[in-house]
Amino acid sequence: MSSEGIAAKPVPQSITLTIDGKPVTVPLGTTIFDAARMNGIPVPTLCHQQNENPVGVCRVCVVDVGARVYAASCIRQAEAGMVVKTNTEPLEGVRRTLLELLMADHPSPCARQQHSGDCELEKLAAAAHIEHPPFPRRTTPRGHDDSSLAIAVDHEACILCDRCIRGCDYIRNNWVLARRGKGYQAGIAFDLNEPMGDSTCVSCGECMVSCPTGALTNRGVVGTKLEGDLVDPEFLLDLPVFKNVSGNFLELNRNAVVERHFRAGDIICREGDFGATAFYILDGTVDIFISSPMAHVKTEDSSTGLLNKLRSFLAPRDRHQRNGDPSRNSIPIDAPIDLPYDKRVAQLHAGELFGEMTCMSYYPRSATVRAATDVRVLEMLRNVLDIMQRNKSFREQLDRTYKQRALESHLKSVPVLASLTPEFIEHLKSRVELIRYLPGQMICAQGEPADSFYLVRLGFVKVSESRPGGDLVLAYLARGSYFGEIAFLGNTTRTATCTALDHVEVVRIPGDDFRRMLDEFPEVRHKLEEVAADRVAANQQRLTQIESVPVDQFLNQGLMEAQSLLVLDLDRCTRCDQCVRACADAHDGVSRLIREGLRFDKYLVATSCRSCRDPLCMVGCPVGSIRRRNSLEIIIEDWCIGCGQCANNCPYGNINMHPFPVEMADPEHPGRMIASTRLKATGCDLCTDHAEPSCVYACPHDAAHRVNPPQFFASMLKQPTPAKGGV
């Protein structure tokens, strides 16, 4: 056949076949199982479920396609002109034999059948009137595993369908479950056949909801006693947000969701607290606000002249404007809306959800929530929220609410997009899409064509570039950040790979709309070009430095990531701790440096902010209050709630929590003021009011230096590596 002949013959996009005498048309590539289901023809199955790749191990879904043997419909693709029979007498006989064999090994009724009556195997067996299988039962027991607090494992009830394995490995990417043994000893195994409780299982429950029998069942939510009234699953299923959720799952997780009632003025949750639950408002209105003082830590002279002394205090933005402060006027919180900077309170109403990030990623609460009216809420644990978020009707509601209430403020909160007109934002409302990514999931890949621009709505995104020898992290983007513009502006492919670090939700603006935005709003284009140029230059500088510094130790200690280091020359340092005393003296007794850390050559890299180029401290801030200036100096914004997440995340222990006495509104008694102490995160500020940091100034032995690592260590790094080996 000539190539023209091939080109002339169009490839069909859909095919027509006959199932049980009914002609059906389906897209090319559809399996017979899906083709039948799409046309209302039920085909029984055990090992297949819609969200997993089919494997065809149970053979219960066999159909007659006119071939020598019956085909497993879940994996056999439909073909044009195919005649399929799903319900003939011989087929019924084959299925019956299969079910009898499976039931011979099944402890009927299994735990699931006893509890909720929906064991899929036993339901099929009952439909086929199989009460007593003619085959003898196995004599060797396969055992139970009750080591997990969350999930009970009954190997006896396992039919080796592998649904749990696929759920664990391919849906959750946990890679804990696998097969073990052969023949009678075959079963599922956790890690290297560890007891489930000792394995790396994270108890996400995916295996449990995937299991068609009672092999994996819920043991109840142990260790977490939610305060409130238990909710009937039927009540939940009546709510639009739980529509189509598995009743079995809700039944199994009765303890994981409760209904709570709050009177007007009651506090529902407080900022900075650690928690593991999210709240869905059933009735009423809540106020959501940040009660921490809206100020950053400023250190300056308390007087002039020689006998001056440094003093740290809280300075709001209007009293002290820092160079490079963005004109950002909204505070991102763990709710569908942002808080305005100048009026730090907003309201949430019935049908809205808050506390998602706390629940999914265990971040501290980002804001205090108080009942504005009498309120009824559902408080739920992670497994219930996860199921809810996967629910289509909830997603639609969330999407609708976001577009109505938060899209405009979200776009306006991004300084470079602040000049968009209301008309254009209205246009975007019908175009943008909210997309959720699981931890580790790739959002866009380096080298692929650009089709969208993204705004981060929830979570943290890692931007990395593939290099010979491994990936290089370029940035971490928090809520309010954006990515994907460089490829559009430069008409190139993606220059980096963006991956979800935790549970991430992004606002996707299609490429056509983004291009239109660039055309219609030249100032937006101009600002984006400036930011893109800065990002490209910073990345390039970083790559150049890394390529020019071949010293492993330098890289291993993360010194390459630092742009400013406090180093102590250990050959000169007499360990007198004057540097630490000076730092404490300069910051109200709270030292921001510890004379401890890694060594590089004769230098001690003291524990003091390194202004990392890869600032892990920025990952996880529930209110996005830690950022870096264009100079790469890390600064803490006014709306820091003092939760300490950044201090925990800093791999070098270089962020300190500084207590300040404040007078603040009593959240429990509106109108009253109380004396309190609030924490604010602080890092090294280089004592910017002075020519030299206090630690360096106070060192009597010229041992302390604040340095730029590549410059300071240049002479050492340029030393040629001695040749190894040689004869």
């Binding site: 340092c573 106070a698 009597p700």
Partner: protein
């Protein structure tokens, strides 16, 4: 140098020899005492490290140079006589301050380099006690895990050790290493070594007289321990040996730190004494 040159004509022109009460003697004394006061102010300067009164390094240089110059000035002031009574006490105190200062400056020049070279796992001096107790806990945990392997009870063994124990199974609810040789004797030997030799060494600061304080003896003891234990526990023995090495370094750091800062116990009190007695001497000499 100028003072020394000026001393020669001054000494020859004075019929009764150089005297502290003469004009030149008073000039020498005044300058010497002023320099001593400046040198003494370094301590006060350190109390206010963030006051911008000049870099601490400058003050330290001034302390060293002026303190050093003050000594010959005072000798010139006294005409190289130590005098009697208060003057004699004062001069001897000053000698102690001067000698201890020179000694201390030498130590501060030499000891930091030695500390850096010999103690790679140096920690903050004040935290040595805490680090020591952490080492005890860490070693006890390692021994417990190793004994779990030796008694066949994998439930208390580390994940790495469990992975090594291929063929592990469950008997009576306890995970048992069927692939390993259970060795109760080795287990009790290990526990005895830890209880009798290692724990006391780790718990006791200094502990110079204990066997593990000596590196060569320690190496020999751990070599012996390796012979007792199966191959798969040799990494645990390595860890235990490293813990002992870290403890030896902590002890060494304590010693070095005391040497590095111990001289100040002499230098500072005598400096205060010199300043106080010097002031009394000046008042008494000028008034009477």
């Amino acid at each position: 140098m100028v003072a020394a040159v000026a001393y020669i004509p001054y000494r020859h022109s004075s019929p009764q020899g150089a005297s502290g009460g003469s004009v030149m003697g008073l000039i020498y004394g005044s300058f010497g005492f002023a320099f001593m006061i400046f040198a003494g102010l370094l301590g006060a300067r350190k109390k206010v490290p963030v006051w911008r009164l000049g870099r601490a390094q400058t003050w330290m240089r001034g302390h060293l140079w002026l303190g050093t110059i003050a000594f010959p000035l005072i000798l010139l002031h006294a005409g190289f006589h130590f005098g009697f009574g208060l003057s004699r006490v004062l001069m001897w105190c000053f000698v102690v301050v001067f000698v201890s200062g020179i000694f201390g400056a030498g130590l501060q020049h030499f000891m930091p380099r030695l500390t850096t070279e010999r103690i790679p796992m140096e920690t903050i001096y004040e935290q040595i006690g805490r680090v020591r107790s952490q080492l005890v806990d860490e070693a006890a945990f390692l021994v417990e895990q190793a004994r779990a392997m030796l008694t066949g009870n994998l439930s208390d063994a580390s994940a790495e050790q469990r992975a090594v124990a291929a063929g592990a199974g469950t008997m009576g609810g306890v995970t048992v290493a069927t692939g390993l040789n259970v060795d109760e004797q080795a287990s009790s030997d290990l526990q005895e070594f830890f209880d009798r030799k290692m724990r006391p060494f780790l718990q006791q600061a200094g502990a110079r007289r204990l066997e593990l304080a000596d590196r060569a003896t320690s190496q020999a003891m751990f070599r012996q321990l390796r012979l007792l234990l199966p191959m798969n526990l040799h990494t645990t023995v390595d860890d235990l040996e490293n813990i002992c090495e870290e403890k030896r370094e902590l002890d060494q750091q304590t010693t070095y730190h005391r040497i590095l800062h111990g001289w100040l116990l002499v230098h500072i009190p005598f400096s205060y004494a010199v300043l106080l007695l010097g002031a009394i001497h000046a008042v008494v000499a000028l008034r009477y």
